[in-house]
């Protein structure tokens, strides 16, 4: 259930942040634009959630 909730929460939070466009979204973290880091973090979390071992299917 946690996995499902997290899977729904990751894109929802991502799009919510894009919609709100806080000032720090346009900044850079070192060489990386924060907005790009945010998207790649969402990628990584979604991938982790997909690869995480699930309840064994029959």
């Amino acid at each position: 259930m946690f996995r499902l909730f997290a899977t729904a929460a990751v894109p929802a939070l991502y799009y919510l942040l894009l919609a709100l466009q806080p000032g720090w979204l346009a900044a850079r973290a070192g060489a990386w634009p924060v907005s790009v880091l945010l998207a790649l973090t969402a990628f990584a979390l979604l991938l982790l959630l997909a690869l995480w071992p699930a309840r064994a299917a029959r």
Binding site: L18, A19, A31, V36, F43, L46, A57, R58
Partner: protein
Amino acid sequence: MSPALAFFIPFALATLALSHWAARRTGAAGAFFSAGGRVGSALGGFALAGDYLSAAAFLGAAGLYYQAGYDSLAYAVGTLAGWPLMTQLIAGRMREEGVFGVGELLAKRFGDAAPRKLAAGVSLTISLFYLVVQLVGAGKLLGLLFGFDYTLAVLLVTLLTLAYVAGGGMLSTTWVQAIKALLLVGCALVLATLTMARFDWQIGGLFDAAAAARGEAVFLPSKALASPLELMSLGLGLTLGLLGLPHVLMRFYCAPDARRAQGAARVATLLIALVFSLNFIDGFGALALLPGHAEFFAEDGTLKGGSNMAALHLAQLLGGPLFAGFVAAVAFATILAVVAGLTLSATATLTRELLPGRGLAFVRGCALTLALAAAAVSIAFQQQNIAVLLGFAFALAASANFPVLLLALYWPGLSATGAAATLATGLAASLMLIVAGPGVWVAVFGFDAPLQPLANPALVSVPLAFAAAALASRSKETP
């Protein structure tokens, strides 16, 4: 001979030989659609990725980076988000149920009643709309890539596709898609490697060059995604749309068991995430590197062949004509594999749901008829803006197919009436909202302002479909 054709012809010959081999192993209509039920996680995952990654996912995504910068990344997150849900909620359960698509799932629960036919109609509509859009795209893209005449390109794609589908059915289509996925990943990887090499492997150099070309705004959503509601609706539609696409759902039927169906979805997620991650390097690379090279631009300052050619021009710039030819050949293979998957899905819906109980010759005849009909429509509508059909197909998948699929899999309280109401509401709501929205009301009909502001209807139509299911299932006893 152009390098593109030199790369493509061996691919076409090898896949046709594969189709011939598969045709000899496909004896009955059941095996024709299931590939014998022996497609393991790795092959199934590559085929799933091949089914899902259309030319839009590679050339189109890079083109969107070139045209609108960050928007392409925002699309990619929504598209990828559907895959963990597919792994957790749909893949294993679909295989456990042993069904090919939504229609068969409803038939298993409610018998051969109205919801089955309605679901089959929705699935067939999604596949055919998607197919026409892909064929129109193929005609235009192959004209740009190979210099083919539009009609010739559409007919070539249709005939090659028919050789895969009508010949070897699911088995040959699976292999074609898996090979294409492998080529696509390799192509994106080489292009990203060449791009990073140009920036001395410093990602900051790539971002600085992109910002120098277009400004820091290139790292933020464009005005097209400025509305918060539109952005949320787009994300919801992209995520849930995947979960209702018939040509993706059919793949789990080929797995030997639920565990391997989930495994295939995991492998596909990994491949798709990899392609999307490489796309952002390729896309920002095109945006940063192409502007200094006049040979890629028309006299009016636009990219030659349009923004969809950005990846191809980047390949030409970084790898020369040979690599550009390879990229073009992979794009052709990509189109073929997706069209094959869609043709197979439409044929399956027609012959398993709407006209069941016939032999393999009838199935092959249906594949031929559907493919030729889609080709005829694609040729007739080549000058029309048919992007709205793709939007409608995705909206239908998210608003009609996904809600009824989820409820049929997980909610014992769903009644036959509830299932029919879910499908009908999702269908009607998405159709009405799209027609009344800016994509049709303003862009097609020419009115000044839309009747409702959302171009993507999922934020409204998906909750409506679930509400219809709850209300209609309460009002009738569950059978």
